[in-house]
């Protein structure tokens, strides 16, 4: 019997009024896997993630998180998820310490001050505990957000464009941390516009466009499968890359 997937999305559709944002999308994320969800702006990435996170109600389809149906038991499903939204916002009046303890409480994890200090020290942020979140640099905010997304040791971490706006050093540190989370056996589903990063870190990738899943597979499989597509060949210069496949399959026009 094959192992139970950590995330199983089946025939997911999300409509906003008459607009179909996600149309019959199906995919699975296995244990310990980094799964990249790629697509141009407005392709349906964030809508898919929002449906998994319980922020939007699917029009059709099922989402199972570690065997829990998100429609039947949304709170238990959420307890198994660690989430970093595209634009993270916490109460500006609260300190980093207070925010971490708030979210620990929401996940049923009691953290003492010393525990929080230890968590912050683990990402070299011991000096920011008493600062307000808005006073932190982009890289520091990103690290704190990741602490909050993973402090309850979720089986699946959802990251919506996590490296957007980060400098190369912060990006490098971020991917090291993601690799560390994966080594603990946790799964990661992320969206990104960086094809180089996706190719380098993702075990498997799905490309979505106009709300429909266009293709999925390992980065090398996708390149192998699509390197002879006329649309891909037209945009490639030399050896075909994941970016060539992405642009070949989703078009060159700016959304």
């Amino acid at each position: 019997m094959p192992p139970k997937p950590i995330l199983e999305v089946t025939n997911l559709s999300v409509n906003y009024g008459a607009v179909k944002a996600v149309d019959q999308v199906s995919f699975r994320v296995e244990a310990g896997e980094i799964f990249g969800f790629l697509g141009p702006n407005g392709a349906g990435k964030t809508s898919t993630l929002s449906a998994i996170e319980g922020l939007v109600k699917p029009t059709a389809g099922t989402i199972m998180v570690d065997g829990i149906n998100t429609a039947r038991d949304p709170l238990a499903a959420k307890a198994n998820l660690g989430v970093q939204l595209q634009s993270t916002s916490f109460q500006p009046e609260l300190t980093v310490h207070e925010i971490i303890r708030l979210f620990a409480g929401l996940y049923g994890t009691a953290l003492s001050r010393a525990d929080v200090d230890q968590l912050l020290a683990s990402v070299k942020l011991e000096e920011v505990g008493r600062k307000r979140f808005k006073e932190l640099s982009g890289g520091q905010q990103q690290r704190v957000s990741l602490i909050i997304a993973t402090l309850h040791r979720p089986v699946l971490v959802l990251l919506d464009e996590p490296t957007m706006g980060l400098d190369p050093q912060s990006r490098r540190q971020f991917w090291e941390r993601i690799e560390g989370i994966r080594k603990e056996g946790r799964s990661i589903l992320l969206t990104t516009h960086s094809m180089e990063e996706a190719q380098a870190v993702c075990d498997r990738i799905a490309i979505i466009d106009h709300g429909e899943l266009v293709t999925s597979g390992t980065p090398s499989d996708l390149i192998r499968q699509h390197r002879n597509d006329p649309a891909v060949k037209r945009v490639s210069h030399g050896a075909v890359t994941l970016e060539d496949v992405f642009i070949g399959l989703t078009g060159t026009e700016i959304r």
């Binding site: 109460q91 409480g105 040791r153 089986v155």
Partner: protein
Amino acid sequence: MNRPTTAYKSNIGQIVRSLLVADFTTQYRRGRAVFASYLVPIILLFAWRKAADKLGGAFVVTSSLSIGLISIGLFGYSVSLAQDRAKGIFQRLRVTPAPTWAIMISRLAVQLASIVTMTIVVLVGALLIDNVQVGVLPAIATVFSAVIGGVVFLSLGQAIVALVASVDAVNSVARFAYIALVVVGIIGSFGVLGDTGKTIVEWSPYGTLQIMLQAALQASAWSRQIWEALFANLGYAIVFAAIGISYFRWNVE
């Protein structure tokens, strides 16, 4: 590779406690805004100091309290709710196992605590500034009435945030509602708007609150008018809350 396991057991007590600690801390740090909602009724107590004998201490206190309650409901609550929604703070909370009702109850609990504090501040201020003495039982009844009135204006604030998307628009609508309730209420209570105007004002959220507060302050026996005012207040709260809950959007993007 070891597959992690998550043993989730819903702990609603811990969730509500965590939300309350965060929301009360936020309210405490928003000191200036909170102070401003207490300031207006205190200024009124000063302004009407000399008129207290003529208008009656109860009128001065109930008017000050009503204005304070409307300020908390329309500005303290609705604007902060709209701002937090626009910043995505609710969305971040909604992806956790915290039920949405717990997120909202925690917010309302902070505002109700603010209402009780403001009522006590006004009663103490009335004694010190206007020499209006209120016994212990009438003071308790006044706090109780203020909470009921406060719920009406918190519900109205919730309805405004439900129906209006942007923070600026919420601010404008709240200001308009504030002026309509307070100015028309005060002018109408003097009979300047004629008999029909006076009747409308008496049955408005401002007017019914005034009746309840005056009855509480003066330890009046429960007359039919007070019962009607109580039911009218409960009716307003139910209608505004129904709109505020049915149409509320957690995200305006």
